[in-house]
Symmetry: C2
Subunit: 167 residues, 2 copies
């Protein structure tokens, strides 16, 4: 496999994987492109590389900035904006996990809490709803907490030691 083929394969794989971590294809592909770029890129360059429109590029770069994954870079003597992404995979994982927790997991935990907290009127249906959503609530809280904690360990010693522990 040559560089160009490998590059395209990586960008397209990362793009279709976007849905897995809750972002759209273009957004994931822009991030992938920046991730393997040796220098900051302009909107023009992103458009050309990924063959997407200016509007699409603008909106998705903005969203990546909102996520905290992409940054504007100022280049002396240049009027255009240049973009870079976080290059450290640990830090990238940390940012993504935190955002997904905040945007998606936390709100669901809140709803599970509300639903599982309804008054027990003695009916079997009500009791089953309470029991099952309570169990989900507990699971979601534990998983969210674990995710946040694992990902917070900057040097990643924890993950390594856990893996050692259970191997």
């Amino acid at each position: 496999m040559e560089y160009q083929e490998a590059k395209e394969k990586f960008i397209s794989t990362w793009g279709s994987l976007g849905t897995l971590w809750g972002i759209n294809k273009a957004m994931a592909q822009i991030q992938a492109l920046l991730f393997i770029s040796t220098k900051p890129l302009t909107t023009e360059e992103i458009m050309a590389e990924l063959k997407i429109s200016r509007g699409n590029t603008s909106m998705n770069v903005r969203q990546l900035i909102d996520w905290g994954i992409v940054n504007k870079e100022l280049v002396a003597g240049e009027r255009k904006e240049f973009f870079t992404t976080e290059k450290d995979v640990q830090e990238l994982a940390r940012i993504i996990a935190k955002e997904r927790s905040r945007r998606e997991i936390k709100p669901v935990i809140k709803i599970l809490q509300d639903v599982s907290g309804i008054k027990d009127d003695g009916r079997a249906e009500t009791q089953e709803l309470i029991k099952q959503t309570k169990a989900l609530h507990e699971l979601a809280k534990t998983a969210d907490s674990l995710l946040n904690k694992v990902v917070d360990q900057k040097q990643n010693w924890l993950t390594k030691s856990i893996l050692k522990m259970i191997n």
Copy 2:
């Protein structure tokens, strides 16, 4: 909040959450309905509760069975098929994590391995691609391994002890 409202809220929340774990809305809603049901349900009952068509119900129940989350139940003297879902949240999480690992994470790990394994021709671009995809490859392997191991602990003692450890 009354039973009916809580039930609808749970089903619709779980439905829109479906995308988070990689399944469509109807599929997630059917699973949610079975999850809080006190008895096995027929296709007719699922159609009526969720207001979806027979074809939609049939296809999505089939997919849930493929995932290993839903089972056919035989009811004596009944010709129709009855369906139930796994009721234990730990086991449910285990099944879902395993399936996602197998269907999505493992194939990506393979591609990252391939891409990061291209020949180093000395160009800066090639070296950056290799370096970055190698880092992602390592991260993905570790995360996948950790996920599978955490979720495999049936009694969940591991998660509890890890949480204790890092609190």
